[in-house]
Symmetry: C2
């Protein structure tokens, strides 16, 4: 029986015999009596197994090591007076797979750094055990949100020949080691995608509402707590939608995700609140209940100028790229809640964003939230062929490789908008976990590739 089912039905099972399989989280005992905390992977919390010296193999059982896989038969006993609502009184306990003396997890608390060296074992430690289920639950929240609203899920490619995007450093994909790409597998230079956006736009111009959810890659040599070389992105794209529609969807999505994980990963979120970030449930609930404000970049700069004394970077001017301290000030001090900054100077944004009538700013938005700053970035896309060409030329981009992308503007192109959500950063935001290496099953960062 799965522990999840047992927990749902323990009252009606009182006095009945059941069989459980799982892994030993603790085993303590005296000469006559022992307790095993068993976890079978189906719920965050353990089940208590009580065993007595009437077991044939009591001596063996009393020595079962942490992490061992066991099979337990026993009677369910409801314990209204106990710390847990029920326990299992064992009639037999068999070891299915022992854990050796060099099992890397012991009862003491291990450092995050130590854990990152053992990605094959750390999912069994509480923080990771909670995190990787949260990861699964949040994935499903994303899919449900978009599918319930009729969005079509598109698998944009991981390998691409688009060299032109210019979103930082990229990984080359090759079967050679001499750089002769014209003789390579694809007969040209191939790289790992940095974003699915350009590839998904044709699908928005077909299905109206679409989204991607898949891996993306950056070969940036930056060792920060927020950057990984491989990470998952969600990139929705909507035809006939302007920037305001875009922000409506972002707001709905964030609120939906928060409510979904609070409901479907409640034990995990309670763990994070207790052990990682004492404010995390309150914090995200507040966001789910807020109206997200909207403020232009230009207005934001005025606020920052007025408060510049409190920043490390005090050189505040129109045209600057905001830093984390500025973003956090705006949402935490000025708005005191989530805020969309809109209409950024075109110079600090991507080539495909729609030029506003002022000729200086583009129809972009960044969602800033208390505690982390930027969580989502979006924009209305430039649907006007000539303006898009001029912007690309202005930025010194080669048009040839992106002619197909330009052509979308000649083939029934229309107003459209979209955004990108870094899935791993959303997990950090929800849990309060501070390092992206601790929200990914096998993090890949510069000079770090374990297994």
């Amino acid at each position: 029986m799965l522990v999840k089912k047992l927990k749902e039905r323990f009252e009606e099972l009182d006095g009945k015999e059941i069989m459980l399989q799982g892994w030993v989280r603790t085993n303590r005992n005296s000469k006559k009596l022992g307790f095993i905390e068993l976890n079978d992977g189906t719920t965050f919390s353990n089940v208590q197994i009580v065993y007595l010296d009437d077991l044939d193999n009591y001596k063996e059982v009393s020595k079962i090591t942490l992490g061992s896989a066991i099979e337990v038969k026993g009677i369910v006993k409801v314990t209204p007076e106990g710390k847990q609502p029920f326990e299992i009184q064992a009639s037999s306990i068999d070891v299915l797979g022992a854990s050796d003396h060099d099992y890397p997890l012991q009862k003491k608390r291990h450092s995050f750094e130590y854990m990152r060296e053992i990605p094959h074992v750390r999912p069994r430690a509480n923080t990771y055990y909670a995190m990787f289920r949260l990861r699964s639950v949040l994935s499903m929240a994303i899919h449900r949100f978009f599918q319930d609203r009729g969005f079509v899920y598109v698998h944009t490619p991981e390998i691409t020949g688009n060299d032109a995007e210019g979103a930082g450093e990229v990984f080359t994909v090759t079967t050679r080691c001499d750089g002769k790409y014209e003789e390579d597998f694809f007969q040209k230079h191939a790289q790992l995608t940095v974003s699915g956006q350009l590839h998904v736009e044709p699908f928005a111009l077909t299905y109206r509402n679409v989204y991607t959810f898949g891996p993306t890659f950056r070969a940036e040599n930056s060792n920060t707590t927020r950057h990984a070389s491989e990470f998952w992105m969600i990139e929705p794209e909507m035809a006939f939608a302007d920037l305001s529609d875009d922000m409506d969807v972002i707001e709905d999505m964030i609120k939906y995700c928060i409510r979904y994980v609070l409901e479907n990963a409640s034990e995990e979120m309670a763990f994070f609140e207790k052990m990682i970030d004492h404010d995390c449930i309150t914090r995200v609930k507040k966001v789910a209940d807020s109206k997200f404000e909207r403020m232009s970049y230009t207005e934001a700069i005025e606020h920052l100028k007025a408060a510049k004394d409190q920043f490390e970077n005090q050189d505040i001017f129109w045209g600057m790229d905001l830093q984390s301290e500025h973003e956090r000030y705006l949402c935490e001090q000025v708005v005191k809640g989530p805020v969309f900054l809109t209409d950024y100077p075109k110079e600090i944004k991507a080539f495909y964003m729609r030029l506003n009538d002022d000729g200086k700013t583009v129809a972009a938005c960044d969602l800033l939230v208390p505690y982390v700053g930027e969580l989502v970035g979006g924009s209305q896309r430039e649907e006007r062929y000539d303006l898009l060409v001029s912007r690309m030329q202005e930025m010194g981009m080669e048009l040839e490789g992106l002619q197909w992308y330009l052509d979308l503007r000649r083939f029934g192109g229309c107003k459209h908008s979209g955004f990108g959500l870094g899935f791993d950063r959303m997990l950090m935001y929800l849990s309060g976990v501070q390092n992206i290496r601790d929200v990914q099953p096998y993090p890949r960062t510069p000079r770090n590739l374990i297994f």
Copy 2:
């Protein structure tokens, strides 16, 4: 208003004015009257727009080209006598984005080969339009099936340092062009994953039931209709499960997916039945209603020997790798339905499969289905450390890089099983589409990398 909503509510909207946006699929007209078939991406079938010469811009409207984006205001009119249950009588039609004279889709039927050159436009052609929605619907079927059963979704890595798996040719991931991998981004050789299975096993030994669903890669230089260099795989893995449990889950999953797409992509499946494969709905329904048989490889060889005259490859012997014609004969002629072949000779299967007591075969299964042959491959994994080590040595594998994988057998390892489903092949199976290049948004194959 979205066409999907309109179709659900057209009766109550009879006589009301509505606004639609979408793309023109056909536009035909006389001097006084015109008809536009409009599609807004939310349903497979179009909406008929009727317009009269009382429109101010009748002349302009009558010239609107295929593929143009338009906005229509008009009155819903229920037409019980018509081919379609309702139509829209236009009061205004505005062009949002015209389609140029060189728009690559015209009313005639284009070849698959032509379409593969224009992946940015082909989603608008019926076959692809049906396919890429089916792709989205089937993705959701997979997620729902596993999440409803408590399986945890794991994002196994795309970039891996495991050189040892030996599943054919791999792509190198690099930021250099001189092959000096020790000075490379990860300070060692990195490659794109060929399977998430080894990486997901630690999670099954934590959460009991888990699954992956993500891209995988093969650098094989094989130009067939069934191989792509990038494709999506589903790899579930279950602790405390033997081969029989594994087959139970495979059978449930396949049946669930079939029923889900018949219900949620009914227009698309009807299109495939009409235009691509006149038997596809009957065929997959029959599978959903069948009991999947189970037959040992050894028994299968006897059946094949008895019928060897009808094969191209008539050299039938115990130990051979079955070919497609053999697999199809077994399910189509012998069993007349889906069948699991089990217990294959160890020499033709992967190193991690569990050795049976006969010492010759392993606890593997392939699901064969009529029309395509093999659809799913699975196995119970070798959980016995010593036996796994001997098998790897027998096969000449280096143990060092996979010591972590071996160690799982020392750290509370237990009986576990899993399988792999090629997502793209499942789409081919459901739709009857014959080439993997026509089920993927941007197919990547040798010497072929478009955009």
